[in-house]
């Protein structure tokens, strides 16, 4: 199978890779680039643990051929922190215990970041809808919603 040249930006860093066109975006992120924050949870495009952002859109990286990300800007969970400081959402998740096993967390953070970009002042109902594509087996979601509410309220405003 003929390999394709893939050029994309991940967390602000440019990459050039030769990949077989059947490679999934999640495989490029985890196996080729080595960013293992993004997780593969289900293999059936159901769980959202592989959620990353392409430009500002939340997408499931296990369900996208890497070649379709040609020239795009990808943000993974590793890209949330700035200069070694955790993002507001990450701090809120820590404070509110919005994780237990942590497997859904990367994807959950990315979905939250993405929908807050679209809707910076969601209601509780809208927050719940915003994470509809991410399954958590541990927390029951309430601590996640509380963390997002705290960020929306401005408790984690960056200085």
């Amino acid at each position: 199978m003929e390999k394709q040249l893939l050029k994309l930006t991940v967390n602000g860093q440019e990459y050039e890779l030769y990949i077989s066109p059947k490679t999934l975006l999640v495989e490029v992120i985890r196996d080729h680039i080595g960013l293992t924050g993004t997780k593969r949870g289900c293999e059936t495009v159901s769980c959202g643990a592989c959620t990353v952002m392409i430009d500002d859109m939340a997408v499931k990286s296990c369900s996208i051929l890497a070649v379709q990300a040609q020239g795009r800007h990808i943000t993974t969970v590793e890209g949330l922190e700035k200069n070694g400081k955790l993002a507001p959402m990450q701090k809120a998740f820590l404070d509110y215990g919005s994780y237990q096993c942590g497997f859904c967390t990367a994807g959950m953070l990315m979905s939250c970041e993405a929908f807050l970009k679209e809707n910076p002042a969601p209601t509780k109902e809208e927050i719940r809808e915003g994470i509809e594509g991410n399954i958590c087996r541990c927390t029951g979601y309430n601590s996640i919603v509380r963390a997002v509410e705290a960020v929306v309220k401005g408790n984690y405003r960056e200085e």
């Binding site: 199978m1 495009v45 996208i64 594509g133």
Partner: protein, 290 residues
């Protein structure tokens, strides 16, 4: 695992059509891939050539005019439809259906034509669009043709698309005045696939009589099914509980459901009966107050 393929990426629609013509016996189109990649990963679909049309911006549009109605380009994402103010105004049922379709991530990348071309009879858009009397525009090097969506599905995951053809546009005619459309699916977790679903479109005149009705069932057969006997019950009548019950029973009889792990055939028929009553009532109320 996904089997090897030759990856082709046309830059224009013309190029895509040429590639399709050149490889018409051994190629498959990928756009968002939100349905296609699942079946490829499970080894259910193997292809020598994969033609990627995701980048064809010329097919990404939403336009409306009062004469011709709504035209949506093939590579328009679900999310674009869900968030379109224009569609919310003119065809609010489409926005409502999109909000309950899969998940945000899938809607951000998946496209309307991909969804319709996949031909999953448990899809939400096809029955709703059939209730709206939508049409599909197909293009090939030989030209283009328009197929009513209700004639588009020919079997289980089978459509009328010829080997050298590409879906390029979805067309929805303007709604007659006094028309409203409602869709609801039954599932256990919101946004899951329909266990069954019913789309109901009714046109009510000033005297409260139903002039036209289209009732379309999701996941009650190998293709979306128009419950024509339910429609016959409604046309020419005024709203009454007994009428809704009769329409539900007729729709239940029109259904050809299977039993699977989600529901038995019996339960599906029962759900069709209940959902038909509810959706006809909902559409009727909306049409009367519009």
């Amino acid at each position: 695992m996904i089997q090897d393929f030759t990856y082709l990426r046309p830059g224009t629609l013309q190029e895509a059509l040429s590639m399709l013509a050149a490889h018409k016996d051994d190629s498959k189109i990928i756009c968002g891939g939100q349905s296609l990649l699942i079946v490829m990963r499970q080894g259910l679909l193997v292809t020598d050539h994969l033609i990627d049309i995701k980048g064809l911006k010329e097919l990404c549009y939403i336009v409306f005019d009062e004469q011709e109605g709504l035209k949506i380009g093939a590579t328009t994402t679900h999310r674009a439809i869900e968030t379109s103010e224009l569609i919310k105004q003119k065809y609010p049922v489409l926005v409502a259906v999109e909000k309950r379709l899969a998940s945000i991530q899938v809607r951000n990348w998946g496209t309307i034509a991909g969804n319709l071309a996949h031909g999953d009879s448990s899809g939400d858009l096809a029955p709703t669009l059939i209730a709206l009397d939508a049409k599909i525009k197909l293009a090939s090097l030989k030209g283009s043709r328009i197929v009513p969506l209700e004639k588009f599905y020919t079997g289980l995951f089978e459509t009328a698309i010829e080997k050298d053809e590409l879906v390029v546009e979805v067309q929805v005619p303007p709604l007659r005045s006094g028309t409203a459309v409602a869709y609801k699916k039954f599932n256990l977790i919101e946004n899951d696939q329909a266990i069954v679903g019913v789309a109901a479109a009714v046109t009510i005149d000033r005297k409260g009589t139903c002039n036209d009705a289209r009732v379309v069932l999701s996941n009650a057969g190998v293709t979306p099914i128009r419950a024509k006997n339910a429609e016959k019950v409604l046309i020419g009548k005024k709203l009454a509980d007994a009428l809704l019950v009769k329409a539900g029973e007729a729709a239940s009889g029109d259904a050809e459901p299977v039993s699977d792990i989600h529901a038995s055939e019996e339960y599906r028929r029962h759900l069709v009966k209940v959902l038909t009553k509810r959706m006809v009532k909902q559409a009727w109320d909306q049409a009367t107050h519009s």
